[in-house]
């Protein structure tokens, strides 16, 4: 048994962390994350040039990683810095394109920006409920809250085709794209197709979608770990420096205990994410990842709410970095299946 990171992954993590610390200080992050296009396209290009996307793809597919721990290591660093770039959209796009046997190079090098359009208003998480239809190479239906969709050039769309779910490639100009910013930074879009021409990439694509979703869920769990670590550390510092009643409030036992409760939950969250990363691309993946996403949903909300509460009035101000970590931590539960959805999956997938 060995819980140490491999040297390759440590180097990846270190260089990404160095880049993010330098390029995405919280003031810059907030400036770009909340104003159109709700991220920093120039820095995103730089990040792609550094090869971040290669780390998300297996060697036999032209990448340099692609394992569960590679994904976790990248997204943990992104979470620590609250990076608003559409890395998740690219991870899922790369998985889908690989499943379809398509050329990944244009995505890996940043020539084409994809977003993945699966969820719908009445089918936010479940593939079975998707209503978007494909007939004779044309799509009709609305995809809702497509992350990274504000300025994506192409969309990978899940649509019903001959009664089964298929994967289509849609150009942004062939549909109505209504983009907007998110309450926790970053962007998304409504993708409204009305007889829009699209290319069929993969028929009977349920398995490919589930696998891409699972990789995305693992990524979100790891992102939450990074964000929880940073939020927790900042709160510890605050409690040590903030004085009331003539002493640092960290000296009050009632507050110490609450921080320890958070620390326990964060360690539990880290463990279940390690379990999920280990299971990715194995038959154990769906249940292990559902477990992780459920636990992360609970832990992240607790960390968000408690760090706000313990920091008092400061915790509910825009100026305070912790507030933005709290928003991201809560809203992660609204992506790719929430606590209750994954609880149901854990029950349904019980062997």
């Amino acid at each position: 048994m060995n819980f140490e990171m491999t040297d390759d992954r440590r180097m990846l993590s270190d260089s990404l962390t160095r880049f993010l610390s330098k390029q995405y200080g919280i003031e810059h992050r907030n400036k770009v994350a909340y104003a159109a296009p709700f991220h920093d396209p120039a820095k995103w290009d730089e990040m792609v040039e550094l090869g971040i996307l290669y780390a998300l793809v297996r060697e036999d597919q032209g990448g340099m990683g692609g394992g569960g721990f590679d994904i976790a290591c990248v997204f943990e660093a992104l979470g620590q810095h609250l990076c608003p770039e559409p890395v998740l959209a690219n991870l899922m796009a790369l998985r889908l394109l690989a499943a379809a046997g398509a050329d990944l190079e244009p995505v890996l090098t940043g020539q084409i920006h994809y977003a993945v359009a699966i969820g719908e208003t009445e089918a936010p998480y479940d593939l079975q409920d998707i209503r978007c239809e494909a007939t004779a190479g044309r799509l009709t239906g609305r995809k809702s809250v497509v992350y990274g969709g504000y300025d994506a050039e192409r969309f990978l769309v899940a649509a019903k085709h001959n009664g089964a779910l298929a994967l289509f490639d849609l150009a942004a100009r062939d549909a109505e794209i209504a983009g907007y910013g998110m309450i926790d930074g970053g962007n998304a879009a409504e993708v409204i197709c009305d007889n829009s021409p699209a290319t069929l990439l993969l028929d009977r694509a349920e398995t490919a979608f589930e696998a891409a979703l699972d990789a995305g869920r693992l990524a979100l769990c790891a992102e939450a770990i990074g964000a929880m670590d940073t939020a927790f550390a900042a709160c510890v510092d605050y409690l040590k420096t903030r004085k009331q009643f003539g002493k640092p409030i960290a000296s009050f036992q009632a507050l110490q205990h609450r921080m320890i409760d958070l620390q326990i939950e964060i360690e539990q969250a880290r463990s279940i994410t390690i379990r999920a990363a280990d299971a990715l691309d194995t038959p154990a993946a769906p249940r292990a990842i559902a477990m992780a996403k459920n636990l992360i949903g609970r832990a992240a909300r607790l960390v968000a709410e408690e760090t706000i509460q313990l920091q008092g009035g400061i915790g509910v101000t825009w100026e305070y970095p912790g507030a933005h970590y709290a928003k991201r931590l809560v809203m992660i539960d609204h992506q790719l299946g929430d606590t209750d959805y994954h609880l149901e999956r854990v029950i349904a997938l019980a062997s």
Partner: protein, 395 residues
């Protein structure tokens, strides 16, 4: 034991219900229902409407022109207001300063300021917290030094709600630094347009603007604006805290919020059925409903007790804690119910034609984040626990 309202109380309830149904502007009610931020004019409209009926100060004693409502009547009024999607009344003048002036103010102060609270001439702000004095309020440092017929004020207040709408502020200031911190505090009334007073906005977590910092640099205030006696402000602050704690549980608001989440969950489709039929969501909802049902009774028990004793006791701290936790749990549920549609940053455009979230729900996540404040302000829930623990262990 009788848990129902008396015939008289029921008649009172119907009178309020009918008046609000007939007179509350519909566009205002719609914005309140959608939890959109309101502007100064919205509150002023509602205040004027209530004042025309003599209800704005219904809770004031008859000797001061009020209706002398007791705690139960006040509770009924709040319940009906929330159910009708009325805005809340702004408490700083009506429920904070007014009781203080009645108990501690001079006859001149009473006749000058009380009518102006009612007719909307004055919007008061509360100058209590400072950057270094939050939970430990008595450590406040804003100084007031006597200079002839004036005080000269230097220092800073923070978390000042709606100071951008206010023309006056009541402040706790330090007039003596010797002895215990509580002993050198005074209660002072000021005009916000005094030279040397500067208001700076604080943006809140979800992006809204309702609180401010207020800076005082050699601001000159007439000494006649002192309420009560110099260095006795802490007594007034404690008296005010007691009044602030009536209706601290916010039962009316919470009942209304719960019924909205229910209708919302009935209208949202998940896995081909209404969300309200999802067993996990239904369980979350039921759990909150149980807690709220209990709190309604706890609240009535304490109201009835307060009616007998004249003011709520330290048990009000229980209501503050439980009330805010339940309210926040409902905000959590409303956000949760929307799934991914909760996440867009609310904007006019999204509400206009995109309709990502169902009608009236674009602000649900923002409301959840904004309402994290309710367990922090008015004495954080940690301070409320200290008050209760003091009562239990050091009687």
């Amino acid at each position: 034991m009788d848990l129902s309202y008396s015939a008289q109380e029921k008649a009172f309830q119907i009178q309020i219900r009918e008046f609000l149904a007939d007179n509350l502007p519909q566009d205002l009610a719609a914005r309140v229902a959608a939890r959109k931020p309101l502007g100064k004019q919205d509150y002023e409209t509602f205040h004027a409407l209530l004042n025309s009926k003599g209800w704005l100060n219904g809770h004031w004693p008859k000797a001061f022109g009020g209706q002398g409502w007791n705690a139960v009547e006040q509770h009924i009024f709040d319940e009906e207001s929330f159910a009708a999607n009325a805005p809340r009344t702004i408490p700083f003048g009506l429920r904070m300063l007014a009781p203080v002036l009645m108990a501690f103010g001079s006859p001149e102060q009473q006749s000058e300021y009380l009518p102006r609270i009612l007719d909307g001439t004055d919007w008061w702000a509360q100058g209590y917290s400072e950057p270094g004095a939050g939970s430990d309020l008595a450590s406040l440092k804003t100084r007031a030094e006597r200079d002839g017929d004036d005080y000269i004020i230097n220092g800073q207040k923070t978390w000042t709600s709606y100071a951008q709408y206010a023309n006056r502020i009541f402040c706790l200031v330090r007039t003596n630094s010797d002895g215990k911190p509580q002993e050198g505090i005074s209660f002072l009334l000021m005009d916000l347009d005094t030279d040397g007073v500067e208001i700076r906005p604080i943006r809140t977590i979800e992006g809204g603007y309702e609180v401010n910092e207020v800076f005082f640099t050699n601001a000159r205030v007439p000494a006649k604006n002192l309420v009560g006696t110099e260095n006795d402000g802490w007594t007034i602050a404690k008296y005010l805290l007691l009044h602030e704690r009536t209706n601290i549980a916010g039962v009316g608001d919470t009942m209304d919020a719960l019924s909205k989440v229910k209708s919302q969950a009935a209208a949202i489709t998940r896995a081909g059925r209404p969300l309200i039929q999802n067993p996990h969501f239904a369980a979350r909802l039921a759990q909150i409903e149980i807690d709220l049902e209990a709190m309604k009774i706890t609240n009535l028990r304490m109201l009835s007790d307060a009616q007998k004793k004249g003011a709520p006791g330290p048990e009000a701290s229980m209501l503050k804690i439980k009330g805010t936790v339940i309210r926040q749990a409902i905000n959590d549920l409303a956000r949760r119910a929307l799934g991914p549609a909760a996440a867009p940053f609310p904007s006019e455009e999204l509400e206009g034609n995109l309709g990502v979230a169902p009608d009236g729900h674009a602000h649900d996540a923002a409301a959840y984040f904004n309402n994290r404040k309710i367990s922090i302000y008015g004495g954080s829930n940690e301070i409320q626990r200290n008050i209760l623990a003091k009562g239990l262990f050091q009687p």
